[in-house]
């Protein structure tokens, strides 16, 4: 096992720069998720680590060894693909044994290791089947089995759960977490689903347009987003934003909405900002702001309420014990310590939290 380091990694396609100087260190055994919208470069980074994509600049180190010039097979990594990428003409056993066979392991060792991995992933009854005879979830487990069996230095996951239905995705998420706990291999997990990233990873790296926006533990990103992008990306449902101007130490939005907040530093009046409040942080009931309920989405435990707050369509999360209907009036307040304020121009957070 070994850690991984990216030093100033860049990737250009002709004149287009898709990765702009990424620095990232992944400790031995750590589980890091790269998350971002489509086209942010997260898969490209993963493919560069795998050796499937050349790097334009920088260094990739696996276990303190620069691997820039090494082919994928020389890097001792294993990858789980979005499409599973199983060999359709081979049985599950052959799929899992392929790497060991190519590296010249003895038949007995291959048998032991494949059986062990199959036991770990509950694949034993499926070993003689072809991929076409398996369900999506089973295929995904085989793809993981193929990765586990070779005991690699680094695990790479490229959106491995995107092709599964919602229920199976939750189940497989649990299995991936359990697997990581068991084998403890350094893992990089690419996803566009921030819930997946937050539930699985020790550390989440948020990317946008080839640049790291913020990295930290899932709760750190949730509680103290570095900028507007991270604030909007992390958290589900997404944070509400209000354009505002600083006036008398508070943020003054249009139509009389006023958000007091704890500022990190003194801000001058007239400074253009964006106020962010998460739907779950609004306190409903006796509040400073009142609006008409335009839309109600009950989800069971909680109800998503869309509120017309002085012309701003705002989502508020309320307990499902409260009976709320479209057309009702609801008053809410944004707690001081949960009100985020960002610079309208740079997007950088200006509030203390």
């Amino acid at each position: 096992m070994s850690g991984l380091e990216l030093r100033n990694i860049a990737k250009n396609y002709g004149a287009v720069s898709v990765i702009k100087g990424i620095n990232l260190t992944v400790a031995d055994g750590e589980f890091v998720a790269l998350v971002g919208p489509s086209g942010c470069g997260k898969s490209t980074i993963l493919r560069m680590v795998a050796g499937l994509e050349d790097i334009t600049d920088g260094d990739i180190l696996i276990g303190e060894k620069v691997v820039n010039e090494l082919t994928p097979r020389e890097r001792n990594i294993a990858m789980v693909f979005q499409s599973y990428a199983l060999y359709p003409h081979m049985t599950v056993y052959q799929n899992m044994a392929f790497n060991l066979e190519l590296s010249g392991k003895s038949k007995a060792e291959i048998e032991t290791r494949v059986q062990e991995a199959a036991r770990m992933l509950e694949l034993e009854p499926l070993l003689d089947r072809k991929p076409s005879q398996l369900s999506g979830g089973q295929r995904q487990r085989v793809a993981m089995g193929r990765a586990v069996v070779r005991a690699p230095a680094v695990f790479l996951f490229d959106e491995p759960l995107s092709n599964l239905d919602a229920k199976l995705r939750v189940q497989m998420r649990g299995e991936i977490k359990a697997l990581h706990k068991k084998v403890g291999v350094t893992s990089i997990y690419v996803t566009h689903d921030q819930v997946e990233a937050m539930t699985l990873a020790d550390r989440v790296v948020v990317l946008n347009r080839g640049v790291i926006q913020q990295e930290g533990s899932p709760m750190e990103l949730y509680r103290r987003p570095a900028n507007l992008f991270v604030a909007g990306f992390i958290g589900s449902p997404a944070m509400n934003f209000f354009e505002a101007t600083i006036a008398g130490g508070a943020a003054q939005a249009t139509n009389g909405l006023r958000f007091p907040f704890v500022a990190e530093r003194q801000l001058v009046d007239g400074h253009k900002v964006v106020v962010g409040v998460r739907p779950e942080h609004f306190a409903s009931g006796d509040g400073a702001m009142e609006g008409e309920v335009t839309f109600v989405e009950p989800t069971g435990g909680q109800t998503f309420v869309t509120l017309d707050l002085a012309g701003h369509q705002t989502m508020v999360l309320v307990s499902s014990d409260e009976d709320i209907f479209a057309g009702n009036r609801l008053s809410v307040s944004a707690p001081l310590e949960r009100t985020y304020v960002f610079d309208a121009e740079t997007g950088v957070r200006l509030s203390a939290n």
Partner: protein, 312 residues
Amino acid sequence: MSQTSTIDDVPVRATSARHVRRKSNRVRGTLPVLVLFLPPALLVFTVFVILPMGEAAWYSFYNWNGYGLPTEWIGTKNYEIIFRNGAFRQALINNGLIIAVSILIQIPLALWIATMVTHRIKGAVAFRLLFFLPYVLADVAAGMIWRFVYDGQFGLVAGIFNAFGMNAPFWLADKQVAFYAVLGVIVWKYFGFHMMLFVAGLQGVDKSVLEAADIDGATGWQKFYRVTLPMLGSTVRLSVFFAVIGSLQLFDMIMPLTGGGPSNSTQTLVTFLYSFGVMRMQVGFGSAVGVVLFVICVVLAFSYKRIFMKND
């Protein structure tokens, strides 16, 4: 013995009765469709396929020059002559050779080039077109062109030999070499077609599977042999099928190239049929050759499909 039925077999009977009813309903439902749509197709097929074949089989038992009605019944004599005929045996061997060269040289060559022109390299599409062009060319034109190329006095081959100060050979006139020269033209003419089949097959191979093989540690050759080729299995089997059937039909290119000569050394089954049946006004004999060719084609095609393509 009790006459009562057990609880278990009641549903079985009920099910089978339902099954029979459903089946008879289905037959009743399809009957008007059959009555309406089958006769035209059956008529066309009978008039243009079954009858001529039956007629050819009938003529093959006559000594008949094609004029008037066949009257001289000679039984299986035409068939006996065919199998004693050296030129026919040569044609059979030649067809076998064409199949062998197609499978051993043409298809591997087509596959190799297909793997190269499937990559996103510069000019891949132009190369694909270039390699496919000979196939687009009419067989007769290709035969004519290569007749000139091989010409020992004025052709390209002559030019090359002369450039090195050597006397140019007349390959098409040498019965030891002529058929190999013809085989060269066949490979040149048809490998583009097989290449296109493989290009289509390769484009259907999931790129991430090949990347998975890269990560699994497969070298270029291992990746091809262990992953790409098995995934192209159905395309390879189809390609071989076309090569076999194509070789049995080879005619148009041979005629302008060699006409089956010299000394029948480049005959194929169809040129033999044409030269010995049609040109010599031996319609009865030609029909017998046609029947033999038909039987070979049917046996080869059906057994190949049954043995190798049963899962495709």
